[in-house]
């Protein structure tokens, strides 16, 4: 076992006017940090393409994860895929990235653009072998992994972006690689990297993609723990116990809530120094306590983080907000979404009498619900979450 883990994220654009995407991503995570990722691009667009790519990616991911050879997978696909009546072929291109113990990556590419890799913030061309399986030309490569290695797999919708409109020959692979190189090592998540790439494609397509467009990013990174404490314990005698547990864990520490930060400040015997800069008019200012990495207000700030987390998992449009802003919610979002792989929540269940005013849009139940929703979203981002109640 090593300390590395894979941060995986993707984003697809549908062909203009289509309800379904003809590209499909399938991910199977197995024990011992083994992961199989498949990006399949079905012939054409719409329902037919969607069926082809879904079948292809499911078959390959399932078979590969069971240790069945690539040759067998390709034969099975060729024998299984329905044949298109118009074109008389059964066809879906695919890229497979197989992570072995997060130590080695095996990459197999059939007719998709070759996977782009970045190492230490620079483009790293992976040498590949060419194989012929059942008449299909397949590129195969493998590479030993290092921390911060980043892979980007694409459907051809990316390299065709802007063909005949803004660009003569579309957005060529080497230009995409150079475009992504500048942001490959700045701490963006895999989801953000794939969103930046597809957003740019959408721009080149003038807002109407002429093909299904998908980017899949994988970042190999070290595990990093972050601890977040919110709310005072229901029994005030447990304050010291709660704070000492919270402070005993390694990794960065975030304290949310006025009363909560007072408890931490008393325990540490360090003052709370609030600032009064409103970077976002709706989010109360942050504060500092020596020994804690970030101190914010509680329920309003966490509510915003929760909104960002939900958006991150759907359209990922708000990364443009939390990615650079300096308010408490954006700062927490960067720490939880980008930095953390393992998050420990320390949640106090005390009821704040001031929040039970029916004229205020916050109350105890909302706080508990927010923490639940946020931890569920973070799990969906692939993070390991532990919630401790006091």
């Amino acid at each position: 076992m090593n300390n590395l883990c894979a941060d995986i994220g993707w984003k697809s654009l549908n062909h203009y006017g289509e309800q379904l995407c003809g590209d499909h991503i399938e991910i199977i995570e197995m024990e011992d940090d083994n992961t199989v990722l498949v990006l399949a691009d079905g012939l054409g667009s719409g329902v037919k393409a969607s069926i082809l790519s879904t079948l292809t990616s499911k078959i390959i991911a399932t078979m590969t994860s069971q240790g069945i050879s690539l040759e067998e997978c390709v034969k099975t696909i060729a024998a299984t895929l329905p044949i298109c009546k118009v074109r008389e072929v059964a066809y879906s291109t695919f890229t497979i990235i197989r992570l072995i113990h997060n130590e080695e990556a095996e990459i197999i590419c059939y007719d998709n653009p070759d996977v782009i890799m970045f190492r230490d913030g620079k483009i790293y061309e992976i040498p590949f072998k060419t194989m012929n399986i059942e008449g299909k030309i397949i590129h195969k490569s493998s590479v030993k992994l290092r921390e911060n290695d980043t892979f980007i797999a694409m459907s051809d919708g990316c390299i065709h972006a802007g063909v005949g409109m803004s660009l003569n020959f579309g957005w060529e692979r080497k230009d995409i690689a150079e475009f992504m190189e500048t942001i490959s090592d700045v701490g963006f998540t895999a989801k953000t990297l794939s969103t930046v790439l597809t957003d740019q494609c959408l721009k080149l397509y003038g807002g109407n993609p002429g093909d299904d467009t998908t980017a899949l990013a994988v970042r190999i990174r070290a595990r990093q723990q972050i601890n977040l404490m919110i709310g005072p314990p229901s029994d005030r005698n447990d304050c010291d116990k709660m704070v000492s547990l919270f402070l005993s864990k390694g990794g960065k520490r975030i304290v949310c809530g006025g009363t909560t930060s007072t408890i931490v400040s008393q325990y540490l015997k360090k003052p709370i120094i609030p600032n009064i800069n409103y970077y976002d008019p709706e989010i109360p200012p942050t504060a500092t306590i020596e020994g804690v990495d970030l101190v914010t207000e509680g329920v309003i700030t966490i509510n915003r983080v929760n909104e960002y987390a939900k958006d991150y998992l759907s359209n990922n449009e708000s990364y443009k907000q939390w990615n650079y802003k300096q308010d408490g919610a954006a700062l927490i979002s960067r720490m939880l979404f980008e930095e953390a792989t393992d998050i420990n929540f320390y949640v106090g269940r005390a009821v704040n009498p001031a929040h039970q005013n029916p004229n205020l849009p916050i109350n105890f139940n909302i706080k508990m619900q927010l923490v639940n929703e946020l931890s569920e979203s973070l799990k969906k981002m692939g993070k390991k979450i532990k919630v401790n109640y006091f």
């Binding site: 409103y278 001031a354 916050i362």
Partner: protein
Amino acid sequence: MKVTVCIGSSCHLKGSRNIVEGLQNLIAENNLKDKVELGGTFCMNNCQNGVCVTVDDKNFSVSPDTVEEFFNTEILAKV
């Protein structure tokens, strides 16, 4: 003179930001930056009477509509 505005959840929802910005402007307009230290604090445990503001440890309840009046009587008149 030290003026502290509560920026806790409850006071925030009642308009702390308007009060902080209002006071910042009024202090600047009256050239009182050297004489008045404006700061924030988390919950003062007096949420029912928010927005809570203290002037040298004396408590006041201010709303966004009364900022100017509060500034004139409690700050400008007393520095």
